[in-house]
């Protein structure tokens, strides 16, 4: 491991001397309540849909009924004539550019705020209406007459890349939105020298985020600027794209994120309803509210990329992995958005959490005429780790090596540098393997498993805070924070970090309270408002605790150092001799020098003629902005590692799968709040379980989603969940705030493959295609029975019924 820390990381090292020492921690590593919990249990918490403004209009979108068609004409006259309709807009009303994400790929921005010439999926937006009430808006949308000329649609990603496929965006591109390759070492040589090679195909299905709160926005044009309250995971990034789409300066756009009812990646991009609410407010001078209904959220927002993965590995007989070849096809749906990042991410994940020197990898992301795929919890890692971890178990079986041991042999370790330039620093992957195996009782149980019983393992590596700032920023920074100490006895933190339900407001508040020795309710938080708070990239890539948390600690540290320098001067000592605790500021081991927090702030302001004690902090990644184009480099300041262990019973008569227990051991560095970490892991298990066993969006041959409701798209209820055991592993990370790493995303990917490996062990079958429904299991068991009866040797790949 390179021990030399960069100038960037060392920039704030001067604050370390006054940071709270671990032995003095009052909050870190313990459990404390969320700051928003009381609002949320009393119904006082206001989400976007709960905002009602005087004179407010209600908006609705006109959507395409076809998956792929040319727009011949749009006639809005009947809608405009309907009493109560105040505004009707189409694509020609927008003066700005196309929408995409991130800024570095602005040339890939491919989504018009409203379609002008053609539509690319069932649900594509072609017009919008604002009316005095929702009913009138719905009626008016029906009165808009659009004439289409249908094109053949491309629904299958592999077919979409063929020469004769219908062109979705640009001709001559094989419908590809992204093509990424990564090579390192000498793959051919490694394969030729290997004792054992293995090659299999795997596939995953389309899944959706299904945050309980539907997407929506309320926009109002006042003081020559647009203010939009919206369901976003990144207020500052939204500001950029909203200004871009409207064709106005960012200084005229204010984005505020109220309480958000879950995101999981689905609220990362900017959507047409947000642009339409803004434009219709600008045109009418009245506030406009657009809240999507549940069906629109299903087919009109974002999905998780369905993926097809071909994995070929080379091993020595002692279990050492020598090389990996992989070919990924990601079904991108109709547009790019944040989905373009999935392509490169899918290859990066294929190099974790195991050491491999020789790689030859390619990922392609074709467009198809389906809803656009985007970021989703465990972004691209859920699919890639599923395939690789199921593959790993198959290799273990062939080599006759225990599956936990095979993983241990190849596990990433501290100091490992990956073939694409990932720099692993803190890493307790082996510890997660050992603890998960111990908790599920692997050694005692593995030889006594009865027919139908299975235990499965899977590992995962993930970024703890992608360094990628989404928008181009000076020195590649992606989180800034300001903290002000108030002489009335409290502090205020101004953070751009977006709490999407995970609890980041609580984390930011805690960090300030911890450093200043205040109570949590003596820290007021101002968050996710582009006019009031400094820049933050948003909630994605497991970056909030690590990056925004670091920015918060540096900001409060900066304020604390300014304060303590004045106090130390008065007390004739050094700032590091002074402790802030229980609302007191005192010299360690000296009871004569002991004043209140308020008195200390007063002392500072006296000396500086009334100037406030203010601290600023930021966090910049050590990357370079070409990283996503060169496909080489270090993507994060730290990485998280985890192991899932599942225990299942499969009923051979019905194919039903009973997941009785799931253990998840996660290296999150120093946990900041134990309950929060457990909550994140339990949520991960929920999503991983749905991914493994039943969640799937289905389409008919015309590209229409068949199950856009919670009844038909089933996700786990309270009755479906297993017993979950969360085990935190690892040591404090050198660069993490108080040593913390992420907990919310890296814990998702190992869940599904652990369950699938358990099912494969229980049934003796090899399932390669998600989801593993009871029907699929039943059919595969039946087919095996029939094959056995016919005396035919059993098939290997029984995934596809």
């Amino acid at each position: 491991m390179s021990t030399e820390r960069s100038e960037n990381l060392k920039y704030y090292d001067g604050l370390r001397k006054i940071y709270k020492k671990p032995e003095d921690y009052e909050f870190v590593g313990k459990s404390y309540n969320r700051i928003d919990a009381e609002d949320k249990v009393t119904g006082r918490a206001k989400c976007t849909a709960d905002i009602y403004l005087p004179g407010m209009l209600y908006g609705k979108l006109k959507r395409s009924p076809f998956a792929h068609a040319k727009i011949i004409s749009i006639d809005t006259s009947r809608a405009e004539a309907l009493p109560g309709v105040k505004c009707v807009i189409t694509g020609k009303d927008f003066r700005g550019g196309k929408l995409g994400n991130p800024e570095a790929f602005k040339e890939l921005a491919d989504k018009e705020s409203l379609c002008k010439d053609k539509v690319r999926f069932v649900g594509d937006e072609v017009a919008a209406v604002a009316a005095v009430d929702e009913e009138t808006a719905i009626e008016a949308v029906e009165l808009i007459d659009v004439v289409y000329e249908e094109f053949p649609c491309a629904l299958d990603p592999v077919e979409a890349m063929k020469e004769d496929a219908s062109v979705i965006h640009e001709p001559g591109t094989q419908n590809l939105s992204m093509l990424t390759t990564m090579q390192s070492g000498d793959c051919d040589k490694a394969f030729s020298e290997a004792d054992y090679t293995d090659k299999h195909r795997y596939s995953t299905q389309m899944m959706v985020h299904a945050a309980l709160e539907p997407h929506g926005a309320v926009a109002t044009w006042e003081n020559n600027e647009i203010t939009i309250w919206t369901t976003t995971q990144g207020a500052h990034v939204s500001r950029f794209w909203i200004a871009h789409g409207l064709g106005i300066p960012q200084s005229q756009v204010r984005v505020i994120k109220p309480y958000l009812g879950g995101g999981f990646g689905g609220k990362l991009d900017v959507f047409p309803h947000e642009l339409c609410a803004c434009l219709m407010s600008m045109k009418t001078g009245r506030p406009v509210k657009i809240i999507l209904d549940r069906k629109e959220v299903f087919y009109g927002t974002r999905t998780r990329h369905p993926m097809e993965l071909e994995i070929e590995t080379a091993f020595r007989k002692d279990g050492t992995m020598l090389a990996k070849r992989c070919r990924h096809v990601l079904d991108g749906g109709a547009y790019g958005g944040s989905g373009v990042a999935a392509n490169v991410l899918s290859l990066i994940w294929a190099t974790l959490p195991y050491k491999v020197a020789n790689i030859d990898m390619m990922a392609r992301r074709p467009y198809t005429n389906k809803p656009a795929a985007g970021a989703m919890r465990g972004y691209a890692a859920s699919q890639v780790h599923f395939a690789n971890e199921v593959h790993m178990d198959e290799v273990a079986e062939e080599l006759g090596i225990d599956p936990v041991e095979l993983r241990r042999i190849n596990a990433c370790v501290p100091g490992y540098e990956g073939p694409t330039g990932l720099q692993v620093t803190s890493c307790a992957f082996k510890e997660t393997l050992d603890k998960a195996a111990e908790a599920i009782g692997w050694e005692e149980r593995k030889n006594g498993l009865k027919r139908g019983e299975g235990i499965g393992f899977a590992g995962s590596g993930f970024v703890s805070g992608t360094g990628f700032p989404v928008l181009e920023t000076p020195k590649y920074h992606s989180a800034s924070t300001t903290v002000r100490l108030n002489r009335e006895g409290y502090a205020t933190i101004f953070t751009g970090a977006n709490d999407i339900g995970q609890g980041s407001d609580t984390v930011m508040t805690m960090i300030v309270a911890e450093e200043l020795g205040l109570k949590m309710d003596e820290v007021k938080i101002v968050q996710s408002d582009t006019t009031l708070t400094p820049f933050d990239s948003g909630s994605f890539g497991s970056r909030v605790t690590f990056l925004a948390g670091n920015a918060a600690r540096r900001a409060v540290g900066d304020a604390k150092l300014s304060l303590l320098e004045v106090v130390a001067e008065n007390w004739n000592c050094q700032p590091e001799d002074i402790v802030m605790k229980d609302h007191r500021v005192f010299k360690r081991g000296d009871s004569t020098n002991d004043i209140s927090f308020s008195e200390a702030v007063w002392m500072y302001e006296e000396k500086h003629y009334g100037k406030s004690v203010v601290g600023v902090g930021s966090f910049a990644h050590d990357g370079d902005k070409e990283i996503y184009k060169k496909n080489r480099g270090n993507y994060a300041a730290a990485y998280s590692f985890s192991t899932g262990a599942a225990s299942v019973e499969v009923d051979e008569e019905t194919g039903c799968i009973d997941l009785s227990e799931l253990v998840l051991a996660h290296d999150c560095g120093q946990p900041l709040n134990l309950r929060a970490v457990e909550g994140q892991v339990e949520g991960s298990v929920h999503m991983g379980l749905g991914f493994a066993l039943f969640e799937e969006c289905r389409f008919d041959e015309t590209g229409k989603m068949l199950n856009p409701t919670f009844l038909d798209y089933r996700f786990p209820t309270a009755l479906d969940m297993p017993r979950i055991r969360t085990i935190t592993c690892g040591q404090p990370d050198e660069e993490g705030p108080f040593g913390a790493k992420e907990a919310g995303e890296g814990s998702t990917p190992p869940v599904a493959p652990a369950i699938v490996n358990a099912i494969n062990r229980a049934t003796g079958l090899k399932f390669h295609d998600l989801p593993i429904t009871p029907e699929k299991v039943w059919r595969a068991l039946k087919a095996r029975k029939a094959a056995e009866a016919a005396g035919v040797q059993e098939g290997r790949n029984c995934g596809k019924p």
């Binding site: 919990a37 009393t42 995970q502």
Partner: protein, 156 residues
């Protein structure tokens, strides 16, 4: 339009409503009681759960006029005289929530459960909230919170 009278959170109210207005829209749009959330409008997510004469119901599946003459409790009526209910306290202490969008509906279903069954088993708790979807928590801490609230009520 019709006049309806109901007892809402112990308060007698009278209002003029459109016949086709759901109870959920009446609560939210007309009364400003936005604690009751709208997640699907199809009776599947449970975010809009309220108590009608003590029984948990999806307010999106009911017309406001059907609530005429009934006793309605929403999340805003759960705390009494500024004192949080044992369930509300337990949801806070056990982290029985993250984004909080399902929380009002969860607490309504759990309130009805504990009134009818003061000592529910874990399975009975899970059954009682099976109609309330949560995407954040994996339900573990919600179940824990309801169980802790049941214990707290018994001890009180």
């Amino acid at each position: 339009m019709r006049i309806i009278r109901m007892k809402l959170n112990d308060e007698q109210i009278e209002a003029l409503v459109q016949e086709n207005c759901t109870l959920l829209d009446f609560l939210r749009n007309q009364l400003g009681a936005t604690g009751t959330k709208k997640g699907c409008e199809e009776g599947e997510c449970g975010a809009c759960t309220v108590l009608i004469n003590g029984v948990p119901m999806n307010s999106c599946l009911m017309l406001a006029v059907e609530a005429d003459g009934q006793e309605i409790t929403t999340i805003e009526g759960i705390a009494r005289n500024g004192e949080l209910s044992p369930l509300q306290k337990a949801f806070i202490e056990k982290w029985g929530l993250q984004c909080g969008f399902c929380t009002p509906g969860m607490i309504m279903s759990a309130t009805a459960l504990l009134k009818e069954n003061p000592s529910p088993t874990e399975f009975e708790i899970r059954e009682a909230i099976a109609g309330n979807l949560c995407r954040c928590t994996g339900y573990a801490k919600i179940v824990e919170a309801i169980s802790a609230a049941a214990d707290a009520i018994k001890e009180a």
